[in-house]
């Protein structure tokens, strides 16, 4: 049996962020969080291409919801097999993209990438969304450092 990863999070801080994120993540979603550019892709395979992406996205959303399920609510602990790290990191990327397209629409790409915007000018929902966005990035960084320490060097 492989190793288990256990991450203990500060429940009072993280739970409100998770509460904010989860309703945005619909495992039965009819749409992708962002429309992929299929311009040069063969017309005959575009529909199945899109359906595959949507299926993958839906399973990530379900995975994310399960991860932050009842046990996390009670203990603040996330526990998953080491081989699931990749799925967790991917699910976080999808969740961040959803936050960007649904909640942080008013922030330009340049400002969001550089962190160069006035946080105080954001509305209350946007502020929480941004904190959730930052939390997921930190979570990804921790996992990536564990999965491949060489990436975070330099």
């Amino acid at each position: 049996m492989g190793k288990l990863i256990e991450i203990r999070l500060a429940l009072p801080v993280v739970a409100p962020l998770v509460d904010f994120i989860l309703p945005l993540l619909d495992p039965d979603s009819a749409d992708l969080p962002a429309t992929p550019d299929l311009g040069a892709v063969d017309h005959e395979i575009r529909e199945s291409w899109h359906d595959d992406l949507l299926e993958s996205y839906r399973s990530e959303m379900q995975f994310f919801k399960d991860l932050f399920g009842e046990e996390f609510r009670e203990t603040g602990v996330l526990e998953f097999p080491e081989e699931s790290c990749e799925a967790v990191v991917r699910a976080c990327a999808s969740a961040r993209l959803k936050l960007r397209t649904e909640v942080l629409k008013s922030v330009t790409d340049e400002a969001l990438e550089g962190g160069d915007f006035d946080y105080d000018s954001l509305g209350s929902g946007e502020r929480t969304g941004f904190m959730a966005y930052v939390f997921l990035a930190s979570f990804q960084e921790i996992l990536i450092r564990h999965m491949d320490p060489g990436i975070s060097e330099n």
Partner: protein, 101 residues
């Protein structure tokens, strides 16, 4: 005989079509996006293409600084497979094509 005559006549044409298809280069291009972390993009390049860290980081920096990086080029079907995988990882990847000559 009709078949015997037709075969040699069609072969050069077929060769030209095949050569043209082989000369077509399809590029997998990754575009910059404001969402994904640099470390995440490096991880994806390593996972999808099997790049070592140095090469993955070089492409990531090219995406970040120039807005795009051609991460792979070659046959269409393979290129499509890579673009699809990159999009599954939520990277902004597109397919481009052109002639090698």
């Amino acid at each position: 005989m009709t078949h015997a005559q037709a075969k040699p006549a069609s072969t050069p044409q077929l060769e030209e079509v095949t050569k043209a298809a082989l000369d077509e280069e399809w590029r997998v291009v990754v575009l910059n996006d404001p969402v994904n972390l640099m470390s995440y993009v490096v991880l994806v390049f390593k996972r999808v293409f099997g790049f070592d860290t140095t090469r993955a980081r070089r492409h990531m920096l090219e995406v970040h600084e120039r807005g795009r990086s051609v991460v792979w080029s070659g046959a269409r079907e393979t290129a499509e497979g890579y673009v699809h995988r990159l999009q599954q990882w939520q990277l902004t990847a597109i397919l481009e094509h052109g002639q090698t000559h």
